[in-house]
Symmetry: D2
Subunit: 399 residues, 4 copies
Amino acid sequence: MQDTDRSPGTSPRVGVWLVGARGSVATTVVAGTAAIAADLASPTGCVTESPVFRGASLPALADLVFGGHDIVDVPLPARAGLLADAGVLPARVAAAVRPALEAADREIRDGSPREGEPQYTTARRLAADITDFRTRHGLEQVVVVNVSSTEALPDPDPAFLDLADLDKALATSTTLLPPSSLYAYAAFHAGCAYVNFTPSAGAALPALEELSRLRGVPHAGRDGKTGETLVKSALAPMFAQRALRVRSWSGTNLLGGGDGATLADPAAARSKTESKQRSLEETVGHAVEGQVHIDNVPEMGEWKTAWDHISFEGFLGVRMSLQFTWQGCDSALAAPLILDLVRLAALAHRRGESGALPALGFFFKDPVASTEHNLTLQYGDLVAWAGAGERTRLPEGAR
Amino acid sequence: MQDTDRSPGTSPRVGVWLVGARGSVATTVVAGTAAIAADLASPTGCVTESPVFRGASLPALADLVFGGHDIVDVPLPARAGLLADAGVLPARVAAAVRPALEAADREIRDGSPREGEPQYTTARRLAADITDFRTRHGLEQVVVVNVSSTEALPDPDPAFLDLADLDKALATSTTLLPPSSLYAYAAFHAGCAYVNFTPSAGAALPALEELSRLRGVPHAGRDGKTGETLVKSALAPMFAQRALRVRSWSGTNLLGGGDGATLADPAAARSKTESKQRSLEETVGHAVEGQVHIDNVPEMGEWKTAWDHISFEGFLGVRMSLQFTWQGCDSALAAPLILDLVRLAALAHRRGESGALPALGFFFKDPVASTEHNLTLQYGDLVAWAGAGERTRLPEGAR
Amino acid sequence: MQDTDRSPGTSPRVGVWLVGARGSVATTVVAGTAAIAADLASPTGCVTESPVFRGASLPALADLVFGGHDIVDVPLPARAGLLADAGVLPARVAAAVRPALEAADREIRDGSPREGEPQYTTARRLAADITDFRTRHGLEQVVVVNVSSTEALPDPDPAFLDLADLDKALATSTTLLPPSSLYAYAAFHAGCAYVNFTPSAGAALPALEELSRLRGVPHAGRDGKTGETLVKSALAPMFAQRALRVRSWSGTNLLGGGDGATLADPAAARSKTESKQRSLEETVGHAVEGQVHIDNVPEMGEWKTAWDHISFEGFLGVRMSLQFTWQGCDSALAAPLILDLVRLAALAHRRGESGALPALGFFFKDPVASTEHNLTLQYGDLVAWAGAGERTRLPEGAR
Amino acid sequence: MQDTDRSPGTSPRVGVWLVGARGSVATTVVAGTAAIAADLASPTGCVTESPVFRGASLPALADLVFGGHDIVDVPLPARAGLLADAGVLPARVAAAVRPALEAADREIRDGSPREGEPQYTTARRLAADITDFRTRHGLEQVVVVNVSSTEALPDPDPAFLDLADLDKALATSTTLLPPSSLYAYAAFHAGCAYVNFTPSAGAALPALEELSRLRGVPHAGRDGKTGETLVKSALAPMFAQRALRVRSWSGTNLLGGGDGATLADPAAARSKTESKQRSLEETVGHAVEGQVHIDNVPEMGEWKTAWDHISFEGFLGVRMSLQFTWQGCDSALAAPLILDLVRLAALAHRRGESGALPALGFFFKDPVASTEHNLTLQYGDLVAWAGAGERTRLPEGAR
């Protein structure tokens, strides 16, 4: 552990409640935290382990306690075995952290919907699971993190706009909120911070923003930036800064695993691809041709490959191009960011911040309450917010 | 012209003295400036034409007057024809700007060395050519820009460290300074700002820094960032900010044209490849495996292609990769930056700044007096320095 | 002209009747043939100009005479100007071949459908245009080539299966046959060979095969292999021969120009993408995951870029990958193959061959009457058929 | 085992003597053969397991017995552990085949040179190790396979041209032959077939060809075609067949592991890169610009990545390009080919063939006694030679 000045035992422990607790990302989070604590792995990819965050009052990784909801019952150690076969977890690590996986597995509760149950009742049941977890472990606080499969976005509904209307509707409706939003609702009622790592709706409804402020809890989201869009947010500002005109930006994403299958559903994919193109156009300042594809290629398993082709115009109209290929392991990219987000959301909660946290936009494709997509500026915002320095800015007018 | 509030005729004109005035880059600079003035082209790729620079007191493009030195005698209009055949200049543009090319061609002087002439004498001769140009055209100032072929770096010499020693040595030596440095010496003596767009030594010798301060003139350099390194400076910070460990970064550059041939000379290439790897390691904070190749592929002509392969490590040691391919036209990438640098150096000169200009690091692979390589931060520094806002910073400790 | 032993004037001339005569491909065909004849260009990309075809009795390029149908009225010289701007035709070539373009343009007839006209009547009218062209120019024969925009495939109809039924149906129907097939019907009635360079139905209906045999004329098609599929047909056999298991093959095609717009229509695209995946599976011998996308990116104009990602498995299940990016100019790739196909179809006609020509599969993505997709074997079949040697074979059982 | 009709025990067993027996490739060969025999893996990548080879009288994989020479003493099971960590061998396979690895390890003899020993004496000692192995195991024959590190090519020597001169020189010289050639000399003296999978000289010296014919043993080589050149030999014929002119072909190979380190030695690399460019020019029929780089990137371990950029010219001189990236695991690509070569060399030996085997060119970058580089034609030659059909040919004059 690099984190020697935050010794476990003396500092308050923080709960991590994973929605989708038996998925690849959650399993990697739990296994990785244990591996780091046992000095079997270094916290590579954990942004908050960088020296610049030393001064921030973040919970230690070793002080995190894991639980969650899921609707499948493959135990975490079995899931870790599959990840070892896929090359995500070294086999020796998977074996060594088995006790930690078993402990977390015992804290997973059934998140399946019950036939005919009004969503208000469901939310109370889910919240009770979380508060029980908090109480039994004597946790200072619990951060609820959505790492379950991507849902289709819900159709607009007036009840999404006002908390009183929402409360009323949930008393009878069994389907109004998509699961990600119902978990946000439950989390806020349980007094917990909420992080949405998926492109699902989550807390991004005005009524839920109202609830989070009412309950004094923060939330962050959405759609973890772990691949093509990460690279995009590093590259797109280059074209704007250099006054090169982006003519088209086309992308193809090949995904295996659960995410690939879910996003093959056009409704779910649309929410993801639209958000990708929007952030690009916000960066370069004009409309750009090109489409983004998300293909389900089951044989790719935990791995994803993205190819982007950018056609741009320079001096005297000369046309040039840039292509990139990103080959990454989804769980290995997401897991350390989950740990970062838990620590940062816990910090916000401790500080008494509530509502959306725009300073955490660095982690997301579609950041709540922020239109900044320049990765370096997002990073500066994050560091400043975390208390390690003052805010980074570009001079007014500069992108 | 977007630049309507800087009408030619009323504002002081600025000379641009191109060393290598008959090369592809210089030809594209002259032709492009005329094309923009005649509304035949938009100033795409000119950073200083972006709205954020509106407030800076930059000379108008239409107020630039061109001249220079070269050792070849292919006239500019003929060179422009070759560029039209290569797809760099639209044929109709090349035809339309012929008068401007002819005018600039008449201001090109022979820069060939004379057998046995001491370099001090040569420098005086070169400086006289420049001052004559300034006088005849009634120019407020002249900016000397090195766009000639890349030289091998000189072996270290004690005379490079002290101006008095250098002056003394030049009185007799015929070879001490490489041409790029001799032109800097001449420019400073002529009271001109100097920009080195090549990886050659140029003004990057302590004795020349001393001279520029003595004469009260600024300089900027070196090695224009127009391709692989530009992308690198946008991408490398991403890995550092995300705490992903770069294991290796390998690159291959395929270049045609004069630059390809020059850099096939291992001594010249070495200076270029070393500078590329150094800036990467400064960004990610540790040594990185990998080599950079520069291949001379004559058939590629004005075009260059760079392929980079980055292998990096994420959570739990999982290895992932990013590749990119950049396909660009060297002259079209360089020419608008030359215009930017001339305008910005002229601004610095007007303001009375002297010596190296670190705020212009945005344009260079190996910026003088700066180790900042994050493109967004360089951009913020530039905008702030140009007077359009305050400086961009990352909080202390953040890269 | 490399083709000195086939002097114009002494040998019979052959007509080329282009359906889509004012499109980019047709314009490039006419301009290129004239440029080669005038020694302004070499016949690069013309397979039948290779030494191995010297012995075949092919019409000389200089003996080809051009005409055709189209529904637009942009004259060929104007179209050539656009191609020059796009970098497909050198500007000096476009100017030099203007007389040839004008001559061909005078031979273009209106191919627009007439309100309420039965298709049988339309076909007679189209055939009359062709025979008039043949008669006026004293041509030995005319080859009709479809280079018009891709159509959606027609729904199956019993009249497609039998010539008598088809004749009967056309007497009254105004919409039964798609245009590509109606032109094939007209061509056969006019006693002409027919080549379908597009993925449209063309002559690939049993009733049309029957007609071509009845009239003693040959036909070839379909869907010219000029990019991604060309590379695929060179690469896919490698995996089969090396016993490497292809797990997925995914492709994205970025197209501008007319073809991009047409194929953005999902119905048209489907016929193209299905044919691409089918030929792959025929080569490797098993089902393969992956999708093929065809994106319309108008700004790419005449250029197309294809990226393919192949994931394969080797010894002990180790997963590896191959990616390729093809960047080509559609018209420059298609035009020389059109000339090849005209010459080869003329040869077949001279020899008295009728019906589908499987030996021309080398040129097509979806070859009629052939399931061979290995490019080298297709090449051997072609050369042997053309009379320059005996047939290439793999030993029985080898792919 | 797919190979059910060649049951072990009833058929004569064949020895495989690996020079470099403790390297990655050799370890993968031994482990893989055992894994296939135990039905833990399928023989993916073994060309001779394809149905077309069913009729050839090849030794069964289960009848192979392994031994060899090496100069390092890391035992095979330990080496297999490293390969499991690197993702080349599944961990469960490495564990299951431990007995087979231990058995092979007991048959490895020290191949270190002895101070001052004449090479003739060394060769006798090495040959005695091999014949002892053959005798003790009652093997029908032994195939010696060179999979050791790449050597620098020897300077020419008159003794390489004539066997009598070579014999005489070896009686006293301690350094005349490079190790790969000394092993070939020893193999032939022991009456064994010899396969050179490396770019080292091996049996490619006239005096050794003479010896192999004298002893009636066959040999094959050199330089296994497992990556960039494999793809090249599938792609380069496409350009020739389509009459597209290859302007430049540039390649960069990033290698880790032992091979990377060896080839970083410029002398060793030169032999490899020259052979790569030569075979390309033989295929396309003219000189081609471009360089091939082989970079040692130790962190890549067992993996290699090759990027190739091909610039070509089509109709009317239009320039287009193709790029590919190959990402492979060296040992997994080489091991099944070693098994193929052993079986095919054994077949040749049984048939009484001696000297170089050109029909095995399919497997090699620089095939002995053959200039055919078209992969499909090489495949046809191989299948025909193996007795499964008649020879594949292109008509005369066709490439």
